[in-house]
């Protein structure tokens, strides 16, 4: 009898432990809100962002987004806040919460959230919504999709890689094939092709996908394979998989190219450059326009070199000055519209013909 009641008690205790674990995660969502000094300067415009599962300190685009919002808070005195999603099922609830908080504008960070935001936008027509990394087809009037022309910095990365390699072989490691990663893949290949044409070289690109954004062991394995088969520069656009790619570069003492943010800090002697997406700038730019009413709802915005929302780091101690300068000039040409880097298979095939 005593045993039974003890078991019962412990069953309850264990269930409690599980609940505690769950609420701990949930607490992260609710409690994970940023500063909120409401309308200090009298301008009571409120912006909230909902992160994807990476969380606000992901040292990637969620973090950049939050930095953008903090910039807005500092410059304009707007109220900004973030809500973290621990899992995909949190998106809808967190968006609802952001609306309930009385936000004027709600940002969804990441294309994974696109459907949830679109739904939320339809049910809350009085609130503005915007999404990073997704273009919508026939979006409602209060929804804006923001995408980046990642092919532009990737083109420069391809150019730099092709002019840095000593073995005439460079690599590309992708996460999961799709619209966003294709931009990196084909932009990079086109950059290599451009350098080949310009320099009369014959650098070949080896590409492989990890079919994951988290499996860093696979990234390391793929990159090791590329290095051992003669590549000496590998570019990755693969999220967490990239940590493995950079680690492989460190071990083989070869070069790697980072993505999204300047990843040189991961391996200062191996990461020669990074294809930057300035999500923070995009957030500032687009939020300002939405607040001022300078932008038509229901549209998509595409940001690139001309808007200063993509780029390459200034630091280039592992790249020849001459090559770096040439790359910057290429960037200017892209800005001027003289070069249009391809972003998928079709545009790539077309681009190659024009070379």
């Amino acid at each position: 009898m005593q045993d039974i009641s003890r078991r019962h008690f412990l069953g309850t205790a264990a269930a409690f432990a599980v609940t505690a674990g769950l609420t701990a995660c949930g607490g992260g969502n609710a409690g994970g809100t940023g500063s909120a000094d409401a309308g200090k300067s009298g301008k009571d415009y409120k912006i909230e962002m909902v992160t994807d599962t990476g969380g606000v300190s992901d040292q990637s685009f969620n973090q950049s987004s939050w930095e953008g919002l903090q910039q807005l808070e500092k410059d304009n005195g707007w109220t900004v806040q973030y809500i973290e999603s621990k899992q995909e099922s949190d998106y809808a609830t967190n968006l609802d919460k952001a609306v309930d908080d009385g936000s004027n504008l709600v940002w969804g960070i990441g294309f994974a959230m696109a459907d949830a935001v679109a739904h939320s936008a339809k049910t809350n027509p009085e609130v503005q919504f915007a999404v990073i990394d997704n273009a919508f087809e026939d979006a409602p009037k209060n929804l804006i999709g923001v995408t980046f022309r990642a092919q532009e910095p990737s083109f420069l990365m391809g150019y730099i890689a092709a002019r840095t390699t000593k073995t005439n072989k460079v690599g590309f490691v992708g996460g999961i094939s799709g619209v966003v990663i294709d931009q990196f893949d084909y932009g990079y290949q086109a950059g290599v092709a451009y350098a080949n044409k310009e320099q009369g070289t014959n650098v070949e690109v080896q590409g492989q996908y990890a079919d994951s954004f988290s499996d860093s062991a696979k990234g390391k394995a793929i990159a090791s394979k590329m290095y051992s088969s003669g590549c000496d520069v590998v570019f990755h656009a693969a999220g967490g998989v990239g940590a493995g790619v950079i680690e492989a570069a460190k071990e083989a003492n070869k070069f790697a190219i980072g993505v999204d943010r300047d990843q040189a800090y991961l391996a200062p002697d191996n990461v020669i450059s990074s294809a930057l997406k300035r999500v923070d700038k995009a957030i500032v730019e687009v939020s300002t326009k939405i607040q001022a009413g300078d932008i038509e709802g229901g549209t998509n915005i595409d940001l690139g070199f001309s808007e200063d929302c993509v780029g390459i780091p200034e630091e280039h101690k592992l790249i020849d000055d001459e090559v770096y300068k040439a790359a910057i000039e290429l960037g200017d040409k892209i800005k001027a519209g003289d070069i249009k880097p391809p972003f998928n298979k079709e545009t790539y095939d077309e681009y190659i013909k024009t070379l």
Binding site: Y209, A217, K218, E247, A267
Partner: protein
Amino acid sequence: MLNSLLLLIGITLMYSTPLVFGSLSGVISERSGVVNIGIEGMMVVGAFTASAVSYFTGNPWLGFLMAGIAGAAIALLHAGASVTFHADQTVSGVAINLLAPGIALFFCRRLFDNAAMTPVCTTLPKLFGEGALNGTPYASLNVDVTVALGFAAALIMWFVLYKTKWGLRIRAVGEHPAAADTLGINVERTRFICVLISGMLAGFGGASVTLAIVSQFTQTAISGQGFIALAAVIFGKWKPHGAYGACLLFGLAQALTVVLGGGSIAIPSQLMAMLPYVLTIIVLVLFVGRSAAPKADGVPYLKGSR
């Protein structure tokens, strides 16, 4: 050809090592009669502790050791709940899997300026020294030192389980605790110790990711290895050498997708990504056959119950 073969071996060993530690963790716990589905959670805590300690002290070996201790500390919860208090072992394991990533993230944010990942830390050395074979095709055989440690751990566990008195007791407790009890074996103590060792090994498994495969803890560092390890336990029929073999097979399958993929022959990478699972099913059906758990696995032992 030689290059590809060596690469295949190198990748197999790299990929399988965290799984080896994880599955040995499962074997020792389940052989004593305690189901441990919390391996994943214990690995997360180990992975974080390893890279945090290595970052602060600059000594990866200390990090590795502390990862084992941290894993054992988490396992203490599991042992307490499921051995001492006879709670449902599955529930306790699930609780650990939910709790552990939260704990790791909490401390990570506390220690590293609210970041969700640790900075880059010093990693464990390579088997033949840093960059020793670079430039030769044999470079891919210069695997992480954790590969050797994993093999040693499997060897030691095999020896302990099958060649020592203590191992016999562990197996007896897992098969028929009441019989073992009548012969004077302290069932609860044996199980308690085995669960702690299980936690320690899982912690090592986590460390072998963040101190060897990559050099920092991120939220995605451990993503499913603990569950694959659990499958390896069953695949390997709850034997340390069997589990080791199963992990090597999983590693080999993954290595094959890498080595065969991305070449000039266009095999869709989605198809390649299926390979590990297809291979697993084929081997399971053709060569492994029936796999039976220790008889008292998952059943809390209540003195005097029949």
